[in-house]
Symmetry: C2
Subunit: 290 residues, 2 copies
């Protein structure tokens, strides 16, 4: 009944007898409750989200549906363990292209232990968090021509610099990523995935408007997951979606906006906006030339 | 001809034989070139700003006018030294209320020395920079009824927490700050200073729009100076202005927006917006009661 998710691109994985999330056939995602308070924090956040009537419905849609907790057999054979039961975000998608983007230039919060702060700070400085306000944690992009995914290994993703991030965001919506090829990504799906009416840019912009005013939550070390139907992208039915995930380090905002998340969000919007602008320019060029 | 500025609220001061900025009667502000590259960085920034044709004129207005450099007698008696010649922002104002707000949750840049980073990080964590995305460096608010300024000492300002910042932003536009009084600030000038058509909120919002797209400069340890005519505030002629100052740590943005400054800017806008909203609510209340 339970199996390892096919399209997870970051975080702990349940393969090879280790502890990680599982999915079922009914569209549910079972995430083991992390010990040392992180699990409790995440459950408390989901409960707060469910009961907070101030959150507009178009923002609530950007979070996975939460179905409570359930004790199931853990993936590492350690016996029955409590799991959060969440919506399996990519359920029903055949070959989704998926990117996990960890938000914020700072993944630590002021109240954390000195040891935790130093560990996070080192990672934030090593990756692009400090420089860009976000870092890519993992991605896979479906290549219909090859019936295969382009999925750089963790070590490569972890070493991305600003140029690599720019390139990855272009490759993520391209169709010509035959492995090892140095061809310029064609950004064939940039319009349908990023700039289309209900596309990623529109969803990011909606999220930004909320972050400009919401002062309840500060989302440290939280990710934006973006995904679309790689298989259907050519037909313009990519159905691109954005969801927020990973709330093990959400803290009370105490009446202050989450400027750390918001700054990174604005930076991400600019990166994707630049790709869209460039794509529009190219399309206009081609129209002119034709 | 040169004298110590009357309305400086933060930074090195030229009194008592130390090195600091001077002003003349012609509306010019002479800032000594700091050694160890900081002076050069600031001059290079002003030169770049002058020659950068991409900066819209309504954004250029938010920077002091730069008149080049000039060698004048330094305030500490060390002889002729190079100074930047800038616009004296408060020239012609009789009793201006002034606040200096150092922007960004992080005042250090990735390329700085480890020693400098640790020093900044400690200050950022100790003050409100990390938590709020900005910190108040100094302020003075004119009290016409007493013909005096309310100006908390540096040590007090440096120890401000989030609540103190909120209160200071309210006191800054209040008329009832008799020293030692615990009365609730009346926010009498909130509307004329903050929310009036061309007021501070409108100028902050204009600045925000620019920061959402500009990728040339990253402004570390830079301040927003806000000031208005304390004397004329009662007549609604406060002429509130916002200017960016202190560019000794501006670095190349390399095509990335300054998400660190922008996040703090959005946070500041929310703080001031809340004061305005509260003020509007009170005014409506009074109208109802009347």
């Amino acid at each position: 009944m339970f199996k390892v998710p096919d399209h997870q691109v970051a975080g702990h994985r349940a393969d090879g007898g280790t502890l990680g999330p599982l999915v079922d056939d009914l569209g549910r995602f079972y995430k083991p409750l992390q010990s040392d308070q992180r699990g409790d924090t995440e459950v408390a956040f989901y409960n707060s989200l469910c009961s907070n009537t101030e959150i507009p419905s178009d923002i609530r849609e950007l979070f996975p549906v939460f179905h409570g907790t359930q004790i199931i057999e853990a993936s590492d054979g350690s016996g029955p363990q409590p799991h959060m039961v969440l919506e399996d975000l990519v359920a029903g998608r055949v070959n989704p292209s998926v990117m996990d983007i960890k938000m914020g230039s700072r993944t630590w919060y002021p109240e954390a232990s000195e040891k935790y702060i130093q560990k996070c700070l080192e990672k934030d400085r090593k990756g692009t968090s400090v420089s860009l306000g976000f870092r890519i944690s993992g991605l896979k992009a479906y290549q219909s021509s090859k019936a295969a995914f382009w999925q750089p290994v963790k070590k490569v993703v972890d070493s991305f610099n600003a140029d690599d991030v720019r390139l990855a965001l272009r490759k993520f919506v391209s169709s010509n990523l035959s492995l090892g090829s140095n061809a310029d990504p064609d950004c064939l799906y940039a319009s349908t995935v990023y700039s289309h009416g209900g596309g990623i840019l529109a969803q990011l912009s909606r999220l930004k408007q909320w972050f400009e005013v919401q002062t309840n939550y500060h989302f440290y070390s939280c990710s934006i997951l973006i995904f679309y139907d790689g298989e259907s992208a050519l037909d313009g039915c990519a159905d691109p979606k954005l969801k927020l995930v990973d709330f093990a380090h959400v803290v009370d905002g105490h009446g202050v906006i989450d400027h750390n998340f918001l700054g990174g969000l604005c930076s991400l919007i600019k990166f994707i906006g630049d790709i869209v602008d460039e794509d529009n320019k190219c399309t206009k060029c081609e129209v002119k030339l034709a």
